[in-house]
Subunit: 460 residues, 2 copies
């Protein structure tokens, strides 16, 4: 494994690279260019130049050789919604009929078993899987705070710190979305596995979270689990200066109905009433919305974080992605339950599921889908997600000669509509090489060991 | 490349293998078993025995060593609906807005360029991509019969024979579904690229098709392109003794509306009137059906061939898969336009898209989805698709230690819900090894060369 963090040897830092082809620039100016020379210092791009040829020295220095990187290089991907421990459920919840709610029971059985050490080992393996598929920032929606009986660990943030350590070990940045979870439903106390989620009230939660210290590779954000889990009186206005706030929103019709019955408002309306929407807020799923909800999310400049492969897996439905965008909201993507860890699949699923819902094509350009897959800003890393001078030096290189990508044009449509995580050959985070093709087998072994340990702890 | 066909050297024939884990048996009896010894003679399984240990000799002979095959082995997959040349469109039709019908214009531009030699090279590469992802029989829905100007080739079946040769070279079986295409719409003559599709009338088509000789690895089947393309008076009753008949059915609402307007019947009703439904008939897509259509397809014992990743890509919608099954129809799967070539993705998409449509889980068991992905019987190979004595000796082995499959249980849910084409490490067709991990790069090169040649021919 390539060491990450301050102890990384010089040899794995990228100083110069000659990219065969890369998606460079930002926003509407982003484009695919050939022969892109990048230079990196202190983890940021200091030079990004298309049409480069060896022998062209920068004016200030003799020309060191720049290793050529074949393939199509795109910015690092942002996995804006993760519950790392759900990875242990992959392939194990598909037997028999059921709903989101029966799936949740299986997930809770797993949630009851983890402690800081086992969680660190599991999350390290899961984060390495993400890295191997091109993810450079993960937003970890974290609510397994306390001991299974609800008692505090000696370090009340032991579970959160385990996730932070796991990310450092895997070599990607993390936004720890420390989650407030106070009730099992409208007017119902936490029960079962949920007792380890609860801090008792919002003040105790904020006091605990304030002890987690941000770092260059760590943003400490906040989350309200959902309007089911946070009583109306505990929802606070969110100041964007406090960093990202994420909330599960309207994933299920039943949640909307319960919210309306209890409060007379939709979940979106309730969050708007509390002042919790805005440009630092991400609403996760945002599936079953009224027109008024869409307008509120748009006018507040909030993010909608879609998790299409999970929404397929859980039968959530297809959210109004394009309508949210037209209303002014921004879109991000997450692999959520990790039934699939492949942000390329999430990017195309945003478009493809909208096609299923509308029976027409072309809702999103490939550039827009890449923007949704690189929405590091929704995680508080506004300086990542694009290959341009000054940005964090993340690179994800795709094999354009695989059975999936050969013959497709090697452009942004290749990345979004043909490639998959299996095509990732190189991943650089903040100027450090954190994954190269050939290391997947080791990641697979680490996943198998950690998941086996997790289920042994669950008595399965 | 491993040679296929009668010239294959003995060294690539499987005589015995010790499978770490395999999905054995058929139908409701199929199950995952450990340590499965298989023996093969003349391309068929002669022994399938679970719980085997080395040293257990068959009674009749000393025990030769059986090479151990790690991973999970499943039966060969059947790709029941393919248009090989569409692979050249992957990643190239995603720009801008559009519908099924604008996509079709791009596809037609490509269709105008191919000749028997270039088609053989392209199809060989595409079939090798299929083999690399576990496909052992392809159903090629073939309508590029004649010269671009409608003139006959010296061999009127030159294009069909090119496909048959391509399959032999790639090492998989083929069902050539030679397609009748007479009209551009209800009452409209073929136009543009369509002139090369038409045989003039059904009798001329049948006469031409009768010159293609079946073989052990080749079933010659028939297809009606669609009710748009075959006038009512040219639709014939189908005798199952004549082999498979495939028809595109109700992929688009506009087709249904035009059919109703022209005939007073739904497309399903029109085929039923002609006597074209039945146990040898596959209806491809079967997306927009009335309850009466579903009942007709079920009571006739017809197959419905779903192509979920294409139906997502083209915005077709989600067909009533489970309702068709409950009514008595059987389900098969195809990768159709090859936006994706991954039957594992098609298998899970059948379930996942039904979840999106219904907001509940568990419509299909993993065993049922595997059955849909191995429906060789719908292609006239009733003796393939299961690992049991007497069946054709196809094996597809999946890596159960990859980042996708590690920790998932290594059972049928792993195959259907976690694995992908990239996890295929070994493919055996009729007892011959036709693909092993490590050969993908060569397949990618072959695809790139053939697709580049195709577009050069199209002037692009």
């Amino acid at each position: 494994m390539i060491p990450a963090g301050g102890s990384a040897p010089e040899s794995v830092r990228v100083r110069r690279a000659w990219l065969e082809r890369a998606w460079i620039g930002a926003g509407a100016q982003a484009r695919v260019a050939d022969d892109v020379l990048v230079e990196v210092a202190d983890g940021r791009f200091t030079r990004v130049e298309a049409g480069w040829r060896p022998g062209q020295a920068p004016e200030s220095a003799p020309a060191p050789s720049a290793p050529r990187v074949p393939g199509l290089t795109v910015p690092g991907l942002a996995n804006a919604h993760s519950h790392a421990f759900h990875r242990a459920l992959r392939g194990r919840t598909q037997a028999g009929r059921g709903t989101f709610w029966t799936w949740r029971e299986q997930m809770y059985a797993l949630a009851a078993t983890l402690d800081p050490d086992s969680y660190r080992r599991l999350a390290t393996a899961v984060f390495r899987e993400m890295v191997a598929t091109g993810v450079t920032t993960v937003g970890e929606f974290h609510y397994l705070h306390h001991r299974p009986d609800g008692g505090r660990y000696d370090d009340p943030n032991a579970m959160g710190h385990a996730l932070v350590e796991a990310a450092a070990e895997a070599g990607l940045r993390i936004t720890l979305l420390d989650t407030l979870y106070l009730s099992s439903g409208f007017g119902r106390a936490p029960e079962g596995a949920q007792v380890r989620y609860s801090d008792g009230d919002a003040d105790a939660w904020l006091a605990r979270v304030s002890d987690v210290r941000p770092a260059d590779h760590l943003v400490v954000g906040r989350a309200y689990h959902s309007v089911r889990a946070v009583p109306r009186g505990q929802l606070r206005a969110h100041d964007p200066a406090d960093g990202p706030l994420h909330v599960h929103l309207s994933e299920q019709v039943a949640e909307n109905e319960a919210c309306l019955a209890a409060t007379g408002l939709t979940p979106t309306g309730l969050l708007a009433e509390a002042g919790a929407l805005g440009p630092a807020t991400s609403l996760v799923h945002a599936t079953h919305l009224t027109d008024a909800d869409v307008a509120l999310l748009g006018s507040s400049g909030s993010w909608a974080c879609f998790c299409p492969t999970t929404e397929r897996d859980l039968g959530d439905g297809i959210g109004p992605g394009r309508a949210l965008h037209e209303a002014g909201a921004r879109l991000s993507l997450g692999s959520d339950s990790h039934a699939v860890v492949d942000l390329f699949e999430e990017m195309r699923a945003l478009e493809l599921d909208e096609r299923l819902a509308t029976r027409s094509r072309g809702h999103w350009s490939a550039a827009e889908l890449l923007a949704a897959g690189t929405a590091h800003a929704s995680l508080g890393f506004a300086d990542a997600g694009r290959i341009e001078v000054g940005a964090r030096a993340d690179l994800v290189t795709l094999d354009t000669t695989s059975v999936r990508t050969a013959g497709t044009g090697a452009d942004e449509a290749t990345a979004v509509f043909a490639a998959g995580g299996a095509d990732v050959v190189l991943v650089v985070v903040d100027g450090r090489v954190v994954h190269e093709r050939g290391q997947e087998a080791e990641v697979g072994r680490q996943l198998a060991a950690a998941i086996s340990e997790t289920w042994a702890g669950a008595g399965a």
